[in-house]
């Protein structure tokens, strides 16, 4: 019995459920020395905006216990240059390309971006990053169910491409927001984006990253992410792309068992650039060892503890 690793996210057929998380894999080129990128289930690009963005002042990253803070501030070349310079390389890989997009000022920018990207056949799906903690806003779209519903509904009308909504963990109830995204027609939800956090240099009495507050990622946040996936899995019907501190096959499996249809590897790419492949083969081995034919046989199949 050969385990079947393929999964479906909206209209997307993935040969395996292992993708790389937005912002942690650049536009893929930086990783080409480390493994055969064609083996990935899909690539999610660094979030792009309409105009080019310089991003935030450095220092932009610091380490925290089993985690890191970042405040890149969505540095990106802007959509036009992205299409011109980055799509050709991505196209050659022949695997699904999911383009993450965000608005700098108002939600109408999503409309402009989706209209433009909808025409590009090399793009397989669009991820709506409504959860970036590094744009100095009072409240994120994904911190409010109604705003999430409104945004996703508006975008849904503009494209037939698979739409993924990326959610913020900095909320009272992430499953309510996920439900709003589902009801508005999102094909899937991706969670979690980073937790907002801060770290202080106590000798200089300044924040360790220039923008004061940044996004916490890495193994430290994994229990929070797994819990949010599980909570959301029990509330919605569309697929979940799970992420947050996946470092190895074991932590990847936690996300499947908690209810993820696919997973994204984020911070782990920095520590072990070839980790996605290790997870894909680990997944095969786990399925073989446990006589599992399809991934759906473990998705959300968490049982109660008992003796």
């Amino acid at each position: 019995m050969k385990p079947n690793l393929s999964v479906k996210i909206g209209k997307l057929d993935l040969k395996n459920p292992v993708m790389v998380a937005s912002g942690t894999f650049g536009y893929a080129e930086e990783f080409k020395d480390f493994f055969d990128l064609k083996k990935l289930g899909a690539i999610v690009t660094k979030t792009i905006t309409i105009r080019p963005r310089q991003g935030n002042l450095p220092p932009r990253t610091c380490e925290t216990p089993a985690g890191m803070l970042n405040s890149i501030g969505l540095e990106n070349p802007g959509v036009d240059k992205f299409i011109e310079e980055k799509i050709p390389f991505l196209k050659k890989l022949g695997i699904p390309v999911i383009v993450s997009i965000a608005a700098e000022e108002g939600p109408e920018e999503f409309i402009v971006l989706v209209k433009q990207l909808d025409k590009i056949s090399e793009i397989s799906a669009i991820e709506l990053n409504i959860s970036c903690p590094n744009l100095q806003k009072n409240k994120l779209i994904s911190q409010d169910a109604q705003s999430t519903f409104a945004l996703v509904s508006a975008v849904r009308q503009l494209t037939e491409k698979t739409l993924i909504t990326k959610l913020s963990p900095n909320v009272t109830s992430i499953s309510e927001i996920a439900l709003a995204a589902q009801n508005a027609g999102s094909d899937a939800v991706a969670l979690i984006n980073t937790l907002t956090g801060m770290s202080i240099d106590v000798h200089k009495r300044i924040p360790k990253i220039a923008s004061w507050v940044g996004g916490l990622s890495g193994p430290a946040i994994r229990p929070v992410a797994v819990k949010m996936v599980w909570e959301t899995y029990n509330k919605i019907k569309i697929p979940i792309i799970g992420m947050g501190g996946i470092m190895d096959i074991e932590s990847a499996l936690e996300f499947f068992i908690a209810g993820s249809t696919a997973i994204s590897v984020g911070t782990a790419n920095f520590i072990n650039p070839g980790i996605s492949l290790e997870i894909i083969s680990g997944l095969k081995a786990y399925m073989e060892d446990n006589d599992i034919q399809n991934l759906s046989d473990i998705t959300g199949k968490l049982k109660a503890c008992k003796d």
């Binding site: 650049g26 930086e30 450095p58 932009r60 540095e75 911070t267 790419n269 920095f270 072990n272």
Partner: protein, 257 residues
């Protein structure tokens, strides 16, 4: 240039003095192509605390060996120093763009290397690659005890001058003031520098005032080390650039300090 992720065997691990350690790694593929100014990114253990790799300059290369020279300043470097000969280190490298040292110096002109503190680390490797007889090395530190690698540079045939903040060795004062003096004494065509940011900033200005090319090796906090996260940027005339991928060596002309 290609990057490799390797399990590099520790061939030697020696405490030079105080917190300074010298270590040799077996990493053939990386050693073969390493250039002065490039670095390797080291995972010091298998746990998630510390989580990130640590960038360390390539201090020298011979055969399969990559040599590093480092100072224990925090947790990761402390763990690194505890790793023993015979063990394996997970490294990625050689990373970044090194010094552009080819061509350069005309017949009578000398090359100046300015090394502040641990800044000696990549410059020793550089000194091996350029014509030593025409190279002047300035080494600065707070005090005599902290002057590093002087013998290495001398053995290579470089002329070496010192500066110490407390005057315990050589010029008494800042290395950048020594640099100014030196520049009035001979014809210099280019400066390569590595050290703390304020020193590099001053070197850039001095080089500019004297109309000399300068190349500076910078440091920024790195998450990925391979150009993917956009974490380690510095301001240049053409916008932010990544220290890990576009640098760590930048021309004084492009930097905005």
């Amino acid at each position: 240039m290609k990057n490799f992720q390797l399990k590099a065997k520790i061939l030697s691990q020696t405490k030079i003095k105080d917190n300074y350690w010298y270590c040799e790694l077996s990493a053939l593929q990386a050693a073969k192509i390493a250039q002065p100014g490039q670095f390797i990114n080291i995972r010091v253990n298998d746990n998630f605390d510390p989580l990130l790799r640590r960038p360390i300059s390539i201090h020298g290369v011979s055969g399969e060996k990559i040599k590093i020279f480092y100072c224990v300043v925090g947790r990761a470097t402390e763990i690194l120093a505890q790793r023993k000969k015979g063990e394996y280190l997970d490294i990625i490298g050689p990373l970044g763009n090194g010094f552009n040292y080819r061509g350069g110096a005309k017949s009578k002109e000398q090359t100046i290397l300015v090394a502040g503190g641990m800044g000696v680390a990549p410059l020793v490797f550089l000194a091996q690659k350029i014509i030593a007889s025409k190279t002047l090395v300035l080494i600065g530190a707070k005090t005599k005890k902290q002057i590093l690698c002087a013998e290495e540079f001398k053995k290579l045939g470089c002329q070496v001058k010192f500066s110490t903040d407390d005057g315990s060795l050589g010029f008494s004062g800042k290395i950048t003031d020594l640099l100014k003096t030196v520049l009035t004494q001979g014809i210099s065509s280019r400066i390569f520098a590595c050290g703390p940011a304020p020193m590099l900033k001053a070197v850039t200005r001095i080089a500019c005032e004297n109309n000399i090319d300068s190349q500076l090796s910078l440091e920024e906090h790195m998450a990925c080390g391979i150009g993917a996260c956009l974490g380690c940027v510095v301001s240049t005339k053409s916008g932010y650039k990544r220290v890990c991928k576009d640098g760590p060596v930048f021309s004084g002309r492009e930097l905005i300090w």
